[in-house]
Symmetry: C2
Subunit: 311 residues, 2 copies
């Protein structure tokens, strides 16, 4: 196939640049049954950096009994240049995780909040009020320690147990993360049920609550095939930060029906076609995804890497 | 999972109703290596009709040597109620196919035009000028015979050999189909390379050429994961007719890199969430897709049917 596809057709109202947070080394790998050793996880991160990605989740400081795939994240950080232009956020679920991350030299950390009682109980092991207080305390402590903090909200667009989630509750939680010092709030469609009008409604709630759209990121899953349409809707609302995973690897292992993150290649194909710059080379990401698929011994959720590489 | 997902969030600027043309029994099955016998193809069409679909591609009057999967389309039509409210278009590639379709009692037919020289040569076996003249002649003859005619344009957003396609060429071809009596022109992204700004640009060209947006349908493929984002873009431009295939079955067997139609379930999930009525029951379609997967002995391209049925 001709390599000049996709054809470039700009939409003047859309942003000219978008930042991608690559989540495959953390959100992706933690959902895989195979645990990759540190050197392979490091090679993955190095390949993604070479492809032009400048924000790459490097791991998490959680119990290796709970999430063995993320064991030895400290050794992963040891192998990265944490003073480079690229950022390598690590997830810290609690104060102990934050202390470990600081001891390992982390510059960027992420904290998680649930927006529903059920997910808080099921995933974070305590009441919504208790897990929210703990998460905010960690965010404040990290900010005070001079780290950059990314806040994640889970189940923003629906919960497998409770169903509907009020956009006002999302805005309140986002407000608290910003007040605790988070520079970015990533809205997670953990079970992939959102549709484009829902995305717009939630973003409207955040903007009405005084949260700058520049501090909002969208984290979509492709369970119902909606991930990229939701990104397009958010782009139109001014969002300029999106989470994605090479090849679509991963999901949330605690959410029964979650499957497939938005593939970084699907996102890049659309942004390239819209003339929106990212600094990322789609072919290099696609080659990395195929290499990762070999390492894991599983097929990729997205067919885009193979379509890109067979052009 | 709660069954009240997706949550309903209307977008006031979007249409309140959308028509889906279900293509799995023709565009879908012709790309599968397994040829299903007439009773199974009839059961597929009956199940889709029961699910609420009112426009279902029933087959094609092509050479059974070229496309064995569509052999005995006459017998398929014999098993359908062609006087019902549902329409069952059949593809007619030439005058002989049209005569056969009329003899079989068809009320709705489809004709195909290429918009590129290369695809015309590769898929239709003659020059673009010759295949266009033949296609238009068939459309005029069908109109004169009192049939409803659907015009398909292939490779509207790019061609595996030539690459870029000028939106003006698409508008010219669409204009000729409308002038030949076609009530609908379906714009085919045969190799799935389109992105939302490209869709908007092509639709703008058609509208500028005086083609009513109500007579335009979009036919997307998911090769690069763009199908549903492109639909959302077209919805915003006023398009109200979309082609889709249960479970994402199919593609164009002549286009090297084509893979996966837009899944009807992916489309329905989005439209249901946007509060856009279709009259179609997503669970009934998903159950039909899983049954079809069993009949074909192949997995479905889309994971949405299984997500829908495991709620």
């Amino acid at each position: 196939m001709s390599t000049d596809l996709p054809q470039l057709f700009r939409q003047p109202a859309l942003p000219s640049h978008v930042s991608i947070c690559e989540v495959s080394p953390r959100d992706g790998l933690q959902a895989e049954s195979t645990t990759l050793p540190v050197p392979v996880r490091l090679e993955l991160i190095h390949r993604l950096t070479e492809a032009g990605l400048t924000s790459i989740e490097a791991g998490s400081f959680v119990s290796p009994r709970a999430v063995p795939q993320m064991a030895d994240t400290r050794s992963v950080l040891d192998g990265l240049d944490l003073d480079s232009a690229a950022t390598y956020p690590v997830l810290v679920p609690n104060r102990r995780g934050l202390d470990d991350a600081i001891a390992a030299g982390a510059v960027d950390v992420s904290v998680f909040l649930s927006v529903t009682e059920s997910f808080s109980q099921a995933n974070l092991g305590d009441s919504l009020q208790a897990t929210t207080e703990r998460g905010l305390e960690v965010a404040r402590a990290a900010t005070t320690a001079g780290l950059r903090v990314r806040g994640y909200l889970s189940m923003v667009f629906g919960d497998p147990w409770e169903g509907a989630v009020d956009p006002q509750d999302v805005a309140s939680a986002a407000r608290r993360l910003v007040d605790a010092g988070c520079t970015t709030v990533s809205l997670g469609d953990t079970i992939g049920t959102a549709t484009p009008g829902h995305v717009t409604a939630v973003l409207d709630s955040l903007v009405s609550a005084g949260i700058p759209i520049d501090s909002v990121a969208l984290h979509t899953h492709n369970t119902y095939g909606q991930a990229l349409a939701n990104v397009y809707s958010a782009l139109q609302a001014g969002v300029r930060q999106f989470d994605a995973s090479a090849g679509g690897i991963g999901g949330c292992p605690f959410a029964r029906t979650a499957s497939g993150n938005l593939a970084t290649e699907d996102l890049l194909w659309m942004l390239d076609g819209l003339g929106i710059s990212t600094g990322v080379d789609i072919e290099a990401v696609a080659a990395t995804s195929q290499w990762l698929s070999d390492q894991l011994g599983t097929p990729l959720p997205s067919a885009t890497p193979s379509a890109v590489l067979s052009r």
